[in-house]
């Protein structure tokens, strides 16, 4: 049972405050801000307690989204709820920022009223909510392709937000007044996150992929969409794939709105996408990757005669040469020593498939001994591979029925992110 919900800016300004059960005072808001800013790195921020009140919060769009409870409520429920709430606000207001929340406070209050009643979560589905919501969203700026807001590529959470975002997916879903750029569009994104550990001897110790298919729908009247996956797509460890090309995952879960009657035979997902963004399928693959991991490192660490630490790193990208941008390695690589993290940060803007880069770092380390060479490493990579899925999952087709009147656009996009890609030395 949720007692209060509030949204704070990163500076602690009250943007939204809603009390559902009248059991806690408004001073909780300031108390929360005090506590959250006093947290040290090692403390888990997830659940905080002040007297009888428990705070659960997430950070999205630079804002604190907080729910409080006095009962022995489920933190899973609350975190999931807060995530949905941010998604809803994003769907309704276009993007998540202090400004958009501030501008649409009346709308957000109205949403909260429908979404939660007396602390019980009622619904977070845009389909149901659109029947009730009266207030119209106020967009911060007219929609523009050049709007480089802080949303990552395809709206996915990336580690590197410097990649030019696709602003197409950052506008409010419901907007009746004048179709300002309001095309009939549907985006299907296949997003995979890799976590890989490669041992010091070059052996692949662990390789996991978590993937999801996200649909972002701007079509007001789309009754059914059929998403066709690879025909050889198989689930589970037991099923042997046989000849090569099969795509396999260990685990697979679907949004509850997905109908799977054609999935077993034809690998077709049938969805009636509601407006806004939703994850229709999530999947995982552990250890048994169909291809080699995309990057390999050949390090050599030694002490030179002057007592300096020498790190010679050769990094190779094992993707097929055509799979990535063909531009040659641009000269604007940079490297920097970060004493605070005890790390060397090497940045490579573009890295074509099949290429190899190398770097030599010389470090002055006081009191360098043979044993301290053991301390060097690991190397951690973060990257984004557009137009690439490491499981090999593909969308064969995307069909809408009934056939949409007027021009409609369907986009399918693939991307693989590094979640944690570690190479030990």
């Amino acid at each position: 049972m949720i007692s209060q919900v509030f949204i704070l800016s990163s500076k602690g300004d009250h943007l939204i405050y809603k009390d559902f059960r009248g059991e806690a005072g408004k001073d909780a808001v300031n108390k929360f801000y005090e506590m959250v800013t006093a947290l040290t790195g090692g403390q888990p921020p997830v659940v905080m307690k002040h007297k009888e009140l428990h705070f659960v919060h997430i950070r999205q769009g630079g804002l604190y989204w907080v729910a409080t409870t006095k009962a022995d409520a489920s933190p899973f429920t609350i975190i999931e709820f807060l995530n949905r709430l941010t998604a809803l606000v994003k769907d309704y207001c276009g993007c998540l920022s202090e400004k958009s929340v501030q501008m649409n406070f009346a709308l957000i209050y109205e949403l909260l009223d429908e979404v939660v009643d007396f602390g019980y979560i009622q619904t977070t589905s845009t389909d149901i909510l659109k029947n009730f919501i009266q207030t119209e969203a106020v967009s911060s700026k007219p929609f523009s392709l050049f709007d480089l807001s802080n949303v990552g590529l395809f709206g996915a959470d990336t580690q590197q937000n410097k990649v030019a975002p696709s602003a197409a997916a950052t506008r409010p879903i419901v907007s009746s007044q004048g179709e300002q750029g309001g095309k009939n569009e549907i985006f299907v994104d296949v997003i995979e996150r890799m976590s890989v550990v490669i041992g010091a001897n070059g052996v692949l110790m662990k390789a996991d992929i978590e993937g999801e298919i996200r649909v972002k729908c701007y079509m007001p009247s789309c009754s059914e969409m059929r998403i066709g996956l690879n025909e050889e797509f198989s689930i589970g460890k037991s099923q042997l794939s046989g000849y090569g090309a099969a795509v396999r995952v260990d685990e697979c879960s679907f949004h509850q709105a997905v109908r799977l009657d054609e999935f077993d035979t034809y690998r077709i997902l049938k969805v009636c996408p509601s407006q806004g963004e939703q994850t229709v399928m999530q999947y995982q693959l552990c250890d048994d990757l169909p291809t080699a991991p995309p990057f390999r490192l050949f390090p050599s660490i030694e002490r030179d005669s002057g007592g300096r630490l020498l790190m010679y790193l050769k990094l190779r990208c094992d993707l097929p040469p055509k799979s990535l941008s063909q531009e040659l390695s641009s000269p604007d690589q940079s490297a920097e020593l970060q004493p605070k993290n005890k790390a060397v940060h090497w940045e490579i803007p573009r890295f074509p498939g099949g290429a190899q880069l190398s770097a030599l770092f010389k470090l002055e380390v006081s009191g360098l001994s043979a044993a301290s060479l053991q301390e060097v490493g690991p190397v951690s990579l973060s990257f984004e591979l557009p137009k690439y899925t490491s499981t090999g999952l593909q969308i064969r087709f995307l069909r809408l029925s009934p056939i949409q009147p007027g021009p409609s656009q369907r986009w399918v996009r693939y991307v693989t992110h590094s979640d944690s890609y570690t190479i030990r030395i």
């Binding site: 408004k26 489920s74 009223d113 009643d117 009266q134 911060s140 996991d208 879960s253 552990c286 044993a371």
Partner: protein, 949 residues
């Protein structure tokens, strides 16, 4: 135009301006004005003055405006109850509106206006809305019943809303069902025995059907409700499990966890050899693994839950070790939780893999994480015997890196490894000694000193090493000082000839130059021990230590059971029962896992055969007696009489050994010594008490000290029972508490001995009592000023007052105590001798005595026999007086001494006694009269205890 302008700063006439705008004729302008009002409300400005004007805008057909006005009303109605009445008419009207949205909105808002006067108007509209044709209205009305119940529970019962709500469980719309279940669950929590949620196979069936149809959030309500049901037999249990299992693949993690909770609970009832049991175990692993790919916040919560599940049923995740390997970019709090689970899952099968990982972690950057990784290596060694050797060599490798904190952690864990596998790895001591200088943390220094002391006979220069520590003795932390003291005494007992000077030096440092009572006490004890009986000293100090247990930080089994019933809730994140952090009576019902019933086909018994691997933890609850009740709320306990008089387990630490040797009788003696440490040698010798310790290889200082002890003339003191163990270490994560009660100079003291038998330092001690028969309460905080290091013991005297809250206990002198430290809260109960409560001014006037004796009805008299007491009446009287039992008169009739005595309890109750003592007869007869006859039994016990000691 955007809404952000509403947030611009207030000017003076703002309220006035808003008022004008609110009363404008134009709808748009009104709406804008209400928006501005709400914006001000959000940022915390007081706009309650506009109440009447805003309420005036309520009657509109514009839904958007109406919603805004309602929002305002909810916020301010409470502070303006009279004004709120103005709105009632509109509400009632809106509840009849043809538009279901408006009907629902009205009933929802009315419930949120927490004003008593409004509730009476709410009843009729609510009744209608509960039967409304539109499900949206019905589901809103269902929640409204819960709201109303929160404001006025009686009203809800009187109006029969609860029955209507129960009917809604069978509603055709799943959303309505879900809300009805949620509302009923909440109401049921405040009426624990009301049987509101009448869960029976039929209603469960309905819920399971609704489960498939409702929204994800509704599924959570229903699953949580299911978790409270206890199936009749294993078949029903299995069929529910089968229908819940599909939820495990839901995308919403809260649904998954609620399903896991139901399954974990109902699994308890399934026979283990059932095929389905195995299937279910297999099905539980993937969803748990999936949770680990969520955001870090969810991962953390999931890991805390997995930690519980792994302790309860390690077999579920035993093959999934890899997913708990730490990712480089995990936040530190996730990393630490993962490490914990890795150790719990470590077994012979996967230990090589785990060790390889841990070694990697030990060279990472984050200090906290590295430390924990090093500790984890040590714990692996202790847990998996086959890996011990590899662990030790890994630790040695790490010591070679010379990274300061790594070395220190390694030494701390190696100490534990030595204790677990004595005489196996001592060859590494030389390497350890090389790093002596780099140790700057107390725990590591203490560990190293312990090692040197323990293996003094194998270390040639042990005396030099210890002496080097001695130089800065006073700058060391208590932990190190205590350890050094013990180590040097050990060394002395092993090599008496060379180290006499050293031991004298440390003893005088500890006893004379230190302000720390713990250190002084321990110093004195060693000193006396050495001077009295070196052989005994050897037996005590060099006693064989019990092996340390495999798992140090397991959650106590009954608590674990309760937490398993709360999977997915805050309790599972805090690892505390909800009663520890949820206010009031809500949620304090203790949940238990169901017992395995079986359907009588005898399939469920052969549990014994496969007890080798996974079933060990299951067996644990039966080994440890039911401490569980104690873990709950101290306010509504139903515990069995605690085992205060149980045999003291053979105490492990040498400190404790020392105490036992001195025996209970010396307690008061020590007390005096400590309180007058500077008394010096001024006391006359008491050679009768001094044994022939002259040959002891210690100087004269010891003699003096001993004289002091023997020479203090103790007046006949109050009876103090010997210390007993109240809280064994195994039930309190390594904290052992023993103690007794005493009355000294009119002050009741609770004398506690806290021993840390865990491997980590304990701090932040605090104590609390439950309400008890005589209102005993701590008169001050528990004074444990220094952290209590591993293997350290501390004695604390806690003065008690008798002005705390009173509740009658059974037995009367039962006291339930909660002790908190940085690790957890522990509960135990003990019984105090009622003689503690006998006050000093308990001597009654003879006349009053006679009158009172007559006045008390004979029914209140009780008679007891005291057997085998060989004191004459004089001695008995003296002895009793020491405990504030006053003899008022004595009469001799036919060779029988009749002693008349009075006692006054701290709460003003008088107890009158007549004691018959016959010369030559060791059996006394005692008659007690009191207006509160319940105390007689306790008083009698005191007589017996006092006279026989």
């Amino acid at each position: 135009m955007t809404d952000s302008k509403y947030f611009t700063t207030t000017k003076k006439g703002e309220i006035f301006e808003l008022k004008a705008e609110l009363n404008s004729d134009k709808k748009e302008k009104k709406k804008e004005a209400v928006k501005k009002v709400i914006a001000s409300m959000t940022v915390g400005k007081d706009v309650s003055a506009l109440f009447p004007d805003v309420v005036n805008c309520m009657q509109t057909d514009n839904l958007e405006l109406k919603k805004l006005v309602y929002l305002y009303l909810m916020n301010y109605a409470k502070s303006q109850p009279d004004m709120a009445i103005m709105a009632v008419n509109t509400f009632v009207k809106d509840c009849e509106d043809p538009n279901p949205l408006i009907r629902a909105l009205a009933v929802r808002t009315m419930g949120c206006i927490r004003v008593d006067k409004i509730t009476e108007y709410l009843c009729e509209p609510l009744r209608k809305c509960l039967k409304d044709e539109d499900p949206y209205v019905r589901k809103t009305a269902a929640v409204c019943v819960a709201k109303l119940h929160d404001i006025n529970a009686q009203l809800v019962e009187d109006q029969g809303f609860l029955d209507t709500l129960k009917d809604l469980i069978s509603d055709s719309n799943p959303m309505v069902v879900a809300n009805a279940v949620a509302a009923l669950s909440e109401i049921a929590e405040s009426h624990p025995n009301s049987n509101l949620l009448d869960l029976n196979p039929q209603s469960i069936n309905k819920l399971l059907t609704a489960l498939n149809e409702c929204t994800e959030w509704g599924q959570i309500f229903i699953l949580d409700c299911l978790a409270n049901y206890t199936p009749r037999d294993d078949r029903e249990s299995q069929s529910i499990c089968e229908r819940v299992t599909p939820r495990l693949s839901h995308a919403n993690s809260a649904v998954v966890l609620s399903a896991v909770k139901v399954l974990m609970k109902f699994m308890e009832m399934l026979p283990k050899d059932l095929d389905y049991y195995g299937t279910l175990l297999k099905k539980l692993a993937p969803p748990l693994v999936t949770l680990l790919s969520a955001e870090p916040e969810l991962q953390y919560v999931a890991l805390r839950n997995i930690n519980l599940i792994v302790q309860k049923r390690p077999e579920i995740l035993k093959h999934e070790m890899k997913v708990f390997f730490v990712k480089y970019n995990d936040p530190i709090y996730v990393k630490l939780e993962k490490l914990d689970i890795m150790i719990r899952l470590a077994s012979q099968a996967n230990i090589a893999q785990v060790l390889a990982e841990l070694k990697e972690y030990a060279t990472e950057v984050d200090v906290d994480f590295v430390r924990k990784a090093v500790r984890a290596i040590g714990r692996c060694a202790i847990k998996v015997e086959q890996s011990a050797e590899r662990c030790v060599s890994t630790l040695l490798d790490l010591i070679q890196t010379k990274v300061n904190y790594v070395v220190q952690e390694a030494i701390v864990v190696i100490k534990d490894i030595f204790r677990k596998y004595p005489n196996k790895y001592e060859s590494v001591i030389a390497t350890l000694c090389e790093n002596l200088d780099s140790l700057d943390e107390p725990e590591a220094r203490a560990a190293m000193i312990w090692i040197v002391g323990e293996y003094a006979e194998r270390i040639d220069n042990a005396d030099e090493l210890l002496e080097s520590f001695l130089e800065g003795f006073h700058d060391e932390s208590t932990q190190v000082q205590l350890q050094l003291l013990t180590a040097i005494v050990k060394l002395f007992l092993k090599k008496p000839t060379e180290t006499q000077e050293l031991v004298q030096q440390v003893l005088s440092l500890a006893t004379q130059d230190s302000d720390n009572p713990d250190l002084r006490d321990r110093g004195y004890i060693y000193w006396r021990l050495l001077s009295t009986d070196p052989v005994a000293a050897k037996e005590v100090v060099l006693a064989e230590k019990p092996l340390i247990s495999e798992e140090t930080d397991l959650i106590e089994p009954t608590l674990l059971e309760e937490l398993i019933c709360h999977i997915g809730t805050l309790a599972s994140v805090y690892h505390k029962p909800p009663s520890a952090f949820v206010e009031g009576s809500r949620g304090v019902m203790h949940k238990r896992l169901p017992a395995r019933t079986g359907s009588g086909e005898g399939t469920e018994c052969p549990d014994v055969g496969n007890a080798a691997g996974g079933s060990a933890p299951e067996a644990a609850p039966s080994i440890i007696p039911s401490q569980g009740d104690l873990l709950g709320d101290l306010l509504n306990l139903d515990l069995a009489p605690p085992t205060t008089t149980g045999p003291t387990p053979s105490t492990s630490g040498m400190q404790m050994g020392g105490m036992d040797l001195l025996g209970g009788g010396l307690e008061s003696l020590l007390f005096n010594m400590v309180s007058h440490p500077k008394m010096g040698a001024g006391f006359g010798a008491a050679p009768a008490v001094m044994p022939a310790s002259l040959n002891a290889p210690v100087g004269g200082g010891l003699g003096d000290l001993f004289d002091l002890g023997g020479g203090v003339g103790m007046p006949m003191g109050a009876y103090i029972p010997p210390k007993t163990v109240w809280l064994p270490a195994m039930k309190a994560k390594g904290l052992e508490i023993s103690g007794t009660f005493a009355r000294r100079a009119g002050v009741i003291q609770m004398e506690l001995v806290l021993t840390n038998k865990a491997m980590s330092v304990m701090t932040d001690f605090a104590i609390q009592f439950n309400r008890n028969s005589f209102g005993l309460a701590p008169a001050g905080p528990l004074q444990v000023l220094t952290p209590l290091g591993p293997n350290q013991t501390i004695e604390v005297s806690l003065p008690l007052s008798t002005v705390g809250p009173v509740m009658k206990m059974d037995p009367l002198n039962n006291l339930q105590v909660a002790v908190k430290n940085n690790i957890d809260v522990f509960y135990f109960s003990c019984q105090y001798p009622i003689s503690m409560l006998f006050v000093e001014d308990g001597k009654m006037e003879r006349q009053v005595f006679l009158a009172t004796w007559k006045d008390i009805p004979n029914d209140n008299e009780s008679q007891f026999q005291i057997q085998d007491c060989h004191l004459n009446s004089e001695a008995a009287s003296n002895k009793l007086q020491g405990s504030n039992i006053f003899t008022i008169a004595k009469r001799t009739v036919e060779g029988q001494d009749m002693l008349y005595m009075s006692i006054k309890l701290s709460n003003g109750i008088w107890v009158l006694a007549e004691l018959k003592v016959q010369a030559g007869n060791p059996n006394y007869t005692i008659s007690l009269k009191c207006r509160a006859p319940e105390v007689s039994q306790c008083v009698f016990q005191c007589y017996e205890a006092v006279l026989k000691n």
